[in-house]
Structures are given as structure tokens and as C-alpha cells.
């Protein structure tokens, strides 16, 4: 479709001539529901090869490591794909403080985990697909990683 056609379609929609299809509204509501008000978004800064400092290990286990940074926090997120489902392990550094929580999220599922003594957290048995992690710190704005897509 050319841009004019998009424009006309948009005009028709806003004029209320055509109803918005139900699945479009539903998808929009779902996406809006995933939004976290006032949060800071952490962008990915490095992948496995750059983060893994050790040069001489004897193999590879197919895990994937991504580092995100924002608002003074570093998230290391390691994803392991099993047969169908995925496991997520990671660490928030420096430690986000007593009472900090981490939400590991897929579009339909949020698993809330307490951040361990050394900033560690894990969640298992998630469906592959889109994934994001949010760190809630008492007294600070939440920090969320960008959504990353994990393929099975």
C-alpha cells in the first residue's frame, strides 16, 4: 500500500466510518498492558563473546549471554534453551539494595523473584519468544531491559 492509502485508511478509521477490528484493539490493549509507567529502559551493550573474558574453555553449552546497562545498573542475562522451554539466569550489579525484586516477563507471564545476596536471580520453564526483565528497587524508578526475542 502506498502512503496515501495508509493516510486515507487512517482518516476513515478516525472518522468512525469503519470500526476498528476487534483483534487490533485487543492487541493494542495487550501491548499497553505490558508498559511499565515511569521506568528506565536498559539497552543491550554486549553479547556473549565480549562478556565472557575467559579464552580457553573446553566447549560451548549453547547458552546465550546479553548485558544491558541503564541508570547505573548492569544486567547480565543468560538464556539456556532446552527442549522447547527456556531457562533464564542473571545478575544485577551493583546489588540493587535490600528488598529489590526482579520480574522476568514474557507477553503473557510475569515471574517475580527476589534478588539474591549477590544480585543473582533465575526463572525456569518459560516459553520461547519475547522476554524482558524488570528490576524494582525501593525508592527508585524501575529499570527494564529491552524486549529480546529468544528462539527455540
Amino acid at each position: 500500500m502506498i502512503n496515501d492509502e495508509y493516510f486515507l485508511a487512517a482518516l476513515r478509521l478516525t472518522a468512525g466510518t469503519d470500526p476498528i477490528p476487534a483483534h487490533v484493539s485487543a492487541a493494542a490493549r495487550e501491548v499497553y498492558g505490558l508498559r511499565i509507567a515511569g521506568s528506565v529502559t536498559a539497552a543491550p551493550v554486549a553479547e556473549s563473546a565480549a562478556i565472557r573474558t575467559s579464552s580457553g574453555t573446553r566447549g560451548d553449552d549453547g547458552s546465550h549471554l546479553v548485558r544491558f546497562v541503564a541508570a547505573g545498573l548492569t544486567f547480565d542475562l543468560e538464556v539456556t534453551v532446552g527442549d522447547g522451554l527456556i531457562d533464564v539466569a542473571g545478575q544485577v550489579l551493583p546489588h540493587p539494595g535490600e528488598g529489590a525484586l526482579v520480574d522476568v516477563r514474557t507477553p503473557h507471564l510475569t515471574l517475580t523473584r527476589r534478588v539474591g545476596q549477590h544480585g543473582h536471580f533465575a526463572a525456569t520453564g518459560l516459553p520461547p519468544g519475547w522476554l524482558s526483565v524488570v528490576c524494582h528497587r525501593p525508592g527508585h524508578a524501575p529499570v527494564q531491559t529491552r524486549w529480546v526475542r529468544i528462539r527455540p
Binding site: T57, R58, G59, G62, G82, D83, H108, A122, P152
Partner: protein, 859 residues
């Protein structure tokens, strides 16, 4: 499924233009692009010279070429134009309708296709009618009318076999065989299907019809999986992928079919990967029949891989599409996914229970879905119990158990006729229903008996396979039944019973020679002999992890923790251990054994904290009983990936990890027998180094120096496999790769490629002690308990007594350090498990674990 296209034949052509059009028609199957160009030239010439017959044939050639290229809408348009050519002979119009039968079927209108076939019938010669019959069969099969489809093919093939035998008759003969083979696939007649497809392949090769040969080859991956040959299926798949390049619709259909077979073989991860490729391609080329089926499979896969939300959405969409295509035989399958997704998302309601029961009834009415109907009925009964609707639950269970007495005769209807199909209820479902009925009446011995009989039948099914992954997947049929038996034992709270049920279940999938009944008495005697050791068998009951502790003195049962909490703790520990390993700088660390923490993520403190937490979950309730005894651990579920040596509670303690108590006992018996055979001769040690490592060669040199009878073999697969026949000890220092999806493809990287677990299946004998000084070489995945798939399990199944292997990535230098210490201790007479514990403690390298029975010194 890919079916043949129809190519018409007229033995004589009256005019040159018609002849040219016929030539294009024949070419459409071999080189559709070229055929399309030729047909267009004929069409315009026919238009100029007013030759309606040539125009109709040319349009039909264009249609068949378009169909070969995956453009079904154009194919239909050309055929409708051919039918509408003014003055075209009736026979030509009928032939165009004949082709339209196939296209309308593929576009999702099999009923209309059958009406078209009826219209065409009157004007076709007997040979063309036979050809029409091969195409009607496809429409009938899509409607689930398999019996009629086969009859249609049979009729056609009889006629075609007596045809003059021109290339074109051969073409239809091969096509008819292909279509009949595919219908037989749908009916589960795998051997008959293989015969038809092989015959098709042979005829099409002899007649020089490479495209038809490819189509038949494209169905081989699917058929291979259904016959139980997963490794062969992937081989066929790669071949078909190459040969179907450039035919996106056929390639996508092949992938979707293959995915369906993978799904049935309990390989949802592999199936999902195929469907992720196939569904968008089928959407793009508008193959609506294949798309609806692929979407249904995708929904099933998503439910299996833990995403009921997506499964619900995709399943509802598949149901809409199937309904629009009037495919009533398929609709209940889509409804089943939707209902099971809603059940997974909860809560259970009376309305949902009613829906499940109605859907099971519908599935039962469709002849082909009887096993699925029975499984869903059992689910409905359990759901009814969840909302306290006992009458509904009992009614459903009664339907599953009514004909239990004649259930042992698969394939034979009961004497009073094939009523409602109860005689086809699969054994695990029937026995589960019997057990549930007995338990509801508080008849616990009756319930145990029903479970036991069911597991025995599952075990017989497992015996028909040799491949360990297929055995494991066949055993999965008994998983829920075994869980029910275990839950009953746990509810009664008798530790001995729980141990017996945990071992019984592990024995179903265990290697064939290890199926003896569990014997706690013998295990206790052996534990006493093995230095007053204790055995901890982990079991999962619902959401709980429990442990049965067995020692010479007693058998105890303890609740440990929630399964989720343990799984997450294991994942956290593996993460911490990996990051710790990366941060440990061996080259700059001075003396071995003094690793220093480096960087923000390293640090032994973090690892220590996580390890303590795991230990608290798994061992605190047992610690007093265990003291400092040597241990035998029998893992369950996620514990198969547990780096046990990293737990402070287990450090400096000999630990053997086994698939079952019976498996540990067998490994010990093998050690005794081997030791007797060898007499006083020192063990023969063979070592090899793989490529790309700085310290592997030095490690091999050190290993050789430790032992008296030791030699190095080249680090290539053939010499290493050959050396296994005579070696008592094998040591490999190399890279290791673990594949969670296909654990038997996991291997050790040698100079000429990986030495995979699959390569070991043909071994006549294995060394007594196998040391895999490589990353992740100890990792396993256990689709069912009792048969973990991976390198240690494979070596042990082939006759090794003890395997030492890594559970996480290991730094090259760290591996050299711990392995050098290990062999020094083994050479001085330490048993392998104690030597590993001491070497790990000395070097601070806790990545390795001892599998099997390592409690006896090598000499």
C-alpha cells in the same frame, strides 16, 4: 502432504497447435517455468487462428505450471478460463475440471472438488477416469474419508497397471501409488505406505520423472519418523530440503508434515522449529488446506512447550479456518487444543468439564482419533474430580474401562461389534482409569495392581526400539501412570514403597538387560560393602521434591522443597559456577589451587552463597543421617544438570551419580566381573587430545606418565573407537558440546569431527573407566527417569562402570590441573570417586562429576 498433480494424455493429437500444447502440458511437471512460456505462445497462436482445443489445453498447461510453482490462485484462474473457452471439446473441458479437482482441494474446498469430479466423470475416457480417481482420492483424504480414498486409488491403479505403459501412464501410476501411500500414512499403515512410496520412487526414477521422485522422497522424513527412525528422518529431511529448493509451497508442506511426525515422536522443540519455518511460507503462497493443518500443529506444539496463551489463540484461528473449509473430521482436534489450553490457564469450571466431555465424544465419532479421544476422556474425568463432580468423573472412567477384559486384543473388535471403540483405549490410559476408579473406592492394592500392569505393557512397547532416545520417548506413554502410582505410595507414606515405585518407573526405560525387579535388600547390602555408603534417590511428586534415603540401617522418606524452587536454584548455581570459571584467571593465578576472583561478576563468595542455598534445599533434611558417608545420588528432572561437586556438603566426599539404584548396582557388578577377568594385570590406559586447546597435550602426557600400561592414540574418531575395544581406561582431553534438544548428538570434538553419543551405540564393549576432560560432557536430558540421554548414560549403557565428566564449561588449564591430580591418585590405588573428590579439593576445580559406580580402585 504432497500429492501428485495430474497430467492428461491423449495418445493422438489432431493438429500441430494441440500437439504443442500437449508438449507444454507434459513439460509442466519437469520444468514449469519453461512450460508456462511455451503454453503462452501456443495460447496466443490459438487465439489468432481460432483453435479452441489448443487454447483449452494451453491454459491447462499454464495452470499446471502455476501449481507446480506454488501459485494456486493463478492455477485456478487458468483452469476456469480453459473450462470457459467457447467451442472447446467436452473432453478437454472435462480434463480441465479434472485438474481443478486437485487445485480446489488444495485451496481448501475438498467438497466442491468432489462435485467437480462428478461433473467431469461423464466425458472422460476410462483411462482419464482412472486419472480422475487418483485426484478424487486426495479430496476424499482431506475430508477424512480414508476408506473411500483408498478404494478410489485401488480402482485407478488396477486400470493404470493395464494401460499401454507410455511415460504418461507410468506418471499416473506412480502418482496413484504416491497418493495411496499418503492416505495409508493417515491411517497409520506405515509399512504399506512405505511399500507404495518406494514403488512410486522406483517407477518415477525408471520413467525419468525426477520431480515425481522428489515428491515421493519428500514424504520419506515424515514416514521415517512414524516408523520410529528419527535419525534416518533427519537424513531424508536434509535431502528433501535440497531437492525441493525453488518449490516453496511443497517445501513448506513437507516441513509441516515432518513437524507433525516429530510432534508424535515427542520432539516438540524440533517440531516447533519446523513449523516456525512452514507457517509463514504457507500463508504467503495461500495453500489454505496445508496452512490450517500446520496452524493446528503449531497450537499443539505451543501447548506442549508451555505457552497455553499462544496455543489458545492459534488453536482458535485453526478452528475457524478448518470450519470455513468444511473439514468436520479435523475440527474436534482444534477444539481439543483450545480446551486443553483453557484447562492449563485455569480455573476448572463445570462448563469446561462439559466441553472436554463433548470433545472426547466428537473425537471418538471420528474413526481415526480413538487414542486421542481416550486420553482426553481421562483428562475430562480428572477435571471433573477437580470440581468435585464425582458422578461425571465415574461415568467417564467407566467408558474407558468397560471393555478392559478384551482390551488386550488390539486390532480386533470385540465379539459384540466395534461399539464406541472402547477396545482401542491405549493401555496406559485404560490402566490409569482402572487405577483411578480403584483409588476412588479406596481399593489401594487394586490401584497399585492396575498401575503395575499398565507399566508392564508400556515396557513391552519400549522393547520394540533399540535407539535410546526412541526408547525413552516410548516410555513417556507411561509417565502419568507412573506418577499416579508414586503419588499413591507417597500418600501412604511408606518409604520402602516409595523407593520401590521410583525404581519401577526408572526400570521401564532402562537398558534392556536392566529390567530386574527392584530389590531394596540387595541395594542395602551393597551400600554397606561400599564403605557404609548411603543412597539418596530423588523423586518428584506433583510440585514437590522428595528424597528416599537408603542405607544399611534404614530407609527414610523426606520432603525437601518445591520443584520450581529447586529448578531455579540449579539454574542459578550453574550460572554462578560458569561465571566463576570465566573470572578465574588460571594463567596468572600463581600456584594451582589458588584461584583469584576477578571482575565484578566473579568471586567465590557469590558461588559459595548459591551453593549453600542449593545444599540447604537438597540436603538439610538428610544431613544428620548422612554424616560424612560416601554417597550414591539418583537425580530426577533438573537435577540431571546439577554440578554436584560444587556443593560444600559434598566436597571431599566420594559421590557416585547413577540413573537408578538398580543401575548403580549393575555398574558395580560389572566392575567385579572385569576385575576378575583382568587378574593382576595393570589396567590398559588409552588417552587422546582434541584440537584447539593449549593444555590438552600436556594433560595427556601427564596421564600417560601416571600409569604403567598406557599409550596415546591419535585424537580422531576411528582410532579412538578402535582403542575402546581393548582399553580399561579411556581419557579424552578435548572440547565438549551438549545439545539439549538432541542429547545423543552431544559429543567430544576430535580432529576429524565430533565423537557423538550416537557413535558409541555400536560398541561391543566399553572401558571400565571413562574420563571426559571436556566442558558439559556430563550433561544429560532425561525425557523419562531411568534413561538420561547424554555421554555418561551412553557409555554406562554400553558397559562402562564409571564415567568422570564435566557439568559446565571448564577452563583449559583448570581441567589439566584437576585431571593430573586425579590420575595421580587413581594410579596409587584410590577409587575413582574418592580420587575425584580429593583432586577437586586440592585444585579448587569443582566442575567434574563421577557417574556410575566409582567406589573400587582400579587395581
Amino acid at each position: 502432504m504432497s500429492d501428485t498433480s495430474d497430467i492428461p494424455v491423449r495418445p493422438t493429437a489432431p493438429c500441430p497447435l494441440v500437439e504443442a500444447a500437449e508438449a507444454a502440458l507434459l513439460r509442466s511437471l519437469v520444468d514449469p517455468g519453461d512450460a508456462d512460456r511455451a503454453a503462452r505462445v501456443v495460447l496466443s497462436a490459438a487465439g489468432r487462428s481460432g483453435a479452441p482445443e489448443a487454447a483449452a489445453v494451453a491454459l491447462r498447461a499454464m495452470a499446471l505450471a502455476a501449481r507446480e510453482l506454488g501459485d494456486l490462485d493463478s492455477a485456478e484462474r487458468h483452469l476456469r478460463a480453459a473450462i470457459a473457452v467457447p467451442g472447446a471439446p467436452r473432453e478437454r473441458v472435462a480434463q480441465a475440471r479434472l485438474s481443478l479437482v486437485t487445485v480446489r482441494t488444495e485451496l481448501g474446498h475438498p467438497l466442491q472438488a468432489l462435485r467437480l469430479a462428478a461433473l467431469a466423470w461423464a466425458y472422460l475416457c476410462p483411462l482419464d477416469r482412472a486419472k480422475l480417481d487418483t485426484q478424487r482420492a486426495v479430496a476424499l483424504a482431506h475430508l477424512g474419508r480414508h476408506q473411500e480414498a483408498i478404494a478410489s486409488c485401488d480402482r485407478a491403479l488396477r486400470c493404470l497397471a493395464e494401460a499401454p505403459g507410455t511415460v504418461d501412464d507410468q506418471r499416473f501410476l506412480a502418482g496413484g501409488l504416491l497418493n495411496r501411500g499418503l492416505v495409508r500414512c493417515c491411517r497409520g499403515e506405515w509399512d504399506a505406505a512405505m511399500r507404495d512410496l518406494t514403488a512410486c520412487l522406483q517407477i518415477s526414477r525408471q520413467a525419468g520423472l525426477p520431480h515425481l521422485a522428489r515428491l515421493s522422497a519428500a514424504n520419506l522424513p515424515f514416514l521415517a519418523v512414524r516408523r520410529g527412525d528419527v535419525a534416518g528422518a533427519f537424513h531424508y529431511y536434509r535431502e528433501a530440503e535440497d531437492t525441493l529448493f525453488g518449490y516453496p509451497e511443497r517445501l513448506a508442506t513437507m516441513r509441516a508434515d515432518f513437524a507433525g511426525a516429530l510432534l508424535a515422536a515427542h520432539l516438540p522443540g524440533e517440531a516447533r522449529a519446523m513449523l516456525d519455518l512452514a507457517v509463514p511460507e504457507l500463508e504467503a503462497c495461500g495453500a489454505r488446506v496445508a496452512l490450517a493443518e500446520a496452524r493446528l500443529k503449531l497450537a499443539q506444539v505451543e501447548l506442549l512447550t508451555g505457552d497455553p496463551h499462544r496455543a489458545l489463540q492459534v488453536g482458535e484461528r485453526a478452528a475457524e479456518e478448518l470450519a470455513a473449509q468444511e473439514r468436520s473430521a479435523w475440527l474436534p482436534l482444534a477444539r481439543e487444543v483450545v480446551l486443553r489450553s483453557r484447562l492449563a490457564l485455569g480455573p476448572v469450571t463445570a462448563e469446561l468439564v462439559a466441553g472436554l466431555i463433548a470433545c472426547a465424544d466428537e473425537l471418538e465419532d471420528g474413526f481415526a482419533q480413538l487414542p486421542g479421544a481416550a486420553a482426553l476422556r481421562l483428562t475430562a474425568a480428572e477435571a471433573a474430580l477437580a470440581v468435585d463432580d464425582h458422578p461425571a468423573a465415574s461415568a467417564q472412567l467407566a467408558r474407558l474401562t468397560r471393555h478392559a477384559a478384551v482390551a488386550g486384543l488390539p486390532g480386533e473388535p470385540p465379539a459384540d461389534g466395534p461399539l464406541a471403540g472402547e477396545w482401542q483405549v491405549p493401555a496406559p490410559v485404560r490402566q490409569h482409569a482402572l487405577a483411578l476408579e480403584a483409588a476412588l473406592q479406596e481399593d489401594v492394592p487394586g490401584a497399585f495392581r492396575a498401575v503395575l500392569e499398565g507399566l508392564a505393557e508400556v515396557g513391552e512397547g519400549v522393547e520394540t526400539f533399540d535407539d535410546p532416545s526412541l526408547r525413552a520417548h516410548a516410555a513417556r506413554a507411561g509417565e502419568r501412570l507412573a506418577a499416579f502410582g508414586l503419588a499413591l505410595a507417597v500418600r501412604d507414606g511408606r518409604p520402602g514403597d516409595v523407593f520401590e515405585w521410583a525404581e519401577r518407573w526408572r526400570a521401564v526405560a532402562a537398558p534392556a538387560h536392566g529390567r530386574a525387579a527392584p530389590d531394596a535388600g540387595r541395594v542395602r547390602a551393597e551400600l554397606a560393602e561400599a564403605g557404609q555408603a548411603a543412597l539418596v534417590e530423588f523423586v518428584i511428586d506433583g510440585d514437590s521434591l522428595l528424597a528416599v534415603l537408603v542405607s544399611e540401617e534404614r530407609v527414610l522418606l523426606r520432603w525437601l522443597a518445591g520443584v520450581r524452587a529447586v529448578e531455579e536454584a540449579v539454574v542459578r548455581l550453574r550460572y554462578a559456577l560458569r561465571r566463576h570459571g570465566e573470572a578465574r584467571d588460571w594463567l596468572g593465578a600463581g600456584p594451582v589451587g589458588a584461584p583469584r576472583a576477578a571482575g565484578p561478576v566473579g568471586g567465590g563468595a557469590a558461588l559459595e552463597a548459591v551453593a549453600r542455598e542449593v545444599e540447604r534445599l537438597l540436603f538439610r533434611p538428610l544431613a544428620a543421617e548422612l554424616g560424612d558417608r560416601p554417597l550414591v545420588l539418583v537425580p530426577v528432572g533438573a537435577l540431571h544438570t546439577m554440578p554436584w561437586s560444587a556443593l560444600p556438603f559434598l566436597r571431599e566426599r566420594p559421590v557416585d551419580v547413577a540413573a537408578s539404584a538398580a543401575g548403580w548396582s549393575r555398574a558395580r557388578a560389572r566392575t567385579r566381573a572385569r576385575r576378575g577377568d583382568r587378574g593382576r594385570r595393570p589396567p590398559r590406559v588409552v588417552a587422546a587430545a582434541g584440537p584447539g586447546l593449549t593444555h590438552a597435550q600436556a594433560e595427556v602426557a601427564h596421564v600417560l606418565a601416571c600409569h604403567r600400561d598406557a599409550r596415546e592414540v591419535p585424537g580422531r574418531t576411528e582410532p579412538v573407537l578402535a582403542a575402546l575395544a581393548g582399553a580399561d581406561v579411556l581419557h579424552l582431553a578435548a572440547h565438549g558440546v551438549f545439545h539439549a534438544r538432541s542429547p545423543l548428538v552431544s559429543g567430544i570434538t576430535l580432529h576429524d569431527g565430533p565423537l557423538m553419543a550416537y557413535d558409541l551405540l555400536a560398541l561391543e564393549r566399553a572401558p571400565e573407566l571413562v574420563v571426559l576432560s571436556a566442558c558439559n560432557s556430563g550433561m544429560s536430558r532425561a525425557p523419562v527417569e531411568g534413561a538420561p540421554l547424554g555421554l555418561p548414560g551412553t557409555f554406562l549403557a554400553q558397559g562402562a562402570s564409571c564415567v568422570v565428566a564435566g557439568m559446565v564449561p571448564v577452563a583449559d588449564e583448570a581441567a589439566r590441573a584437576v585431571m593430573s591430580a586425579f590420575h595421580e591418585l587413581v594410579a596409587t590405588g584410590q577409587p575413582p570417586d574418592a580420587a575425584l573428590a580429593a583432586a577437586s579439593a586440592k585444585t579448587g576445580v569443582y566442575e567434574f562429576v563421577c557417574f556410575g559406580a566409582g567406589d573400587r580402585p582400579l587395581r
